[in-house]
């Protein structure tokens, strides 16, 4: 049994999710991280995506 990991999907998924959420926050007028709202949220979700690609338990085929 081997585990196949998908770090690139995690990277791009996290980046897009962070970008979308950051823009939603800006357009909704909720800059939760002040001047770093966009860069901070995008960076956080990108890193989170990579980490999840490694840390989540494997699903069975």
């Amino acid at each position: 049994m081997t585990v196949r990991r998908h770090p690139l999907r995690g990277l791009f998924g996290g980046f897009l999710l962070g970008l979308g959420l950051a823009l939603v926050l800006v357009f909704a007028g909720i800059p939760i991280l002040g001047t770093w709202t966009v860069i901070g949220v995008v960076a956080a979700f990108t890193v989170l995506g990579i980490l999840l690609a490694y840390a989540l338990p494997a699903r069975q085929p």
Partner: protein
């Protein structure tokens, strides 16, 4: 590959923490000797808000008290470069620290040191926007002349009726879908392991009928 990704993840976390800790104070700040007074009106032409920039933070234009703009209104400004004359200058604008295509320059052959003008808000964007934005910018001219500034402004309106808001929701949904697909998968093969799996699986073997 796995080690590189782990190191990149740790560096990303460290970078994120450092920029959050070092986040600058938000104020309508102008540095370099320049001054700027701005005013906005609503759709009917009535005065809506005013703000002025100054070294160390001016009046309004902060995150708590952003400069309010109406999509159907206008913005006027009265700026001065003080004792500096920006010959052959270039300028650029960033939003939330990200450089934008808003940039330009001018030889300023006349040696102007003031700018007074106004513009309609909706005339300068292809679609309606709402929200709160942190804007910064700088201008550099010949002989080392320089000014920079930053401040917050709010575009009034309902985000649910704007295209950019829903495009952002779609981007987030695509990202969430990709993230769900990033979950590791267990396979029966034992020949290889590791993070090389962002590639489609091989076609299953085809069954050839016996003659």
């Amino acid at each position: 590959m796995r080690r590189i990704a782990r190191v990149a993840s740790m560096m990303g976390l460290a970078g994120l923490l450092s920029i959050l800790i070092a986040a600058p104070a938000a104020a309508f700040e102008l540095n370099g000797g320049c001054t700027l007074d701005i005013a906005s009106t609503d759709a009917s032409g009535a005065a809506l808000d005013t703000s002025s920039g100054a070294p160390g933070g001016g009046q309004g234009g902060t995150q708590a008290d952003p400069f309010v703009v109406d999509w159907d209104g206008s913005v006027s400004w009265n700026g001065s470069s003080g004792s500096q004359v920006f010959m052959d200058h270039s300028w650029q604008v960033s939003v939330f620290g990200i450089p934008t295509p808003l940039r330009g320059g001018d030889p300023n052959d006349g040696g102007d040191t003031t700018a007074v003008d106004s513009t309609g808000v909706s005339e300068n964007a292809p679609f309606e926007l709402t929200g709160i934005f942190y804007v910064s910018g700088d201008i550099n001219g010949a002989e080392g002349t320089h000014c920079d500034g930053n401040g917050w402004f709010r575009l009034n309106g309902n985000p649910l009726t704007t295209i950019p808001f829903w495009v952002s929701v779609i981007i987030a949904a695509i990202g969430a879908g990709l993230l769900l697909g990033a979950r590791p998968t267990a396979t029966g093969a034992t020949a290889s392991s590791g993070p090389s799996a962002d590639e489609p699986p091989a076609d299953p073997p085809t069954q050839v009928p016996m003659p």
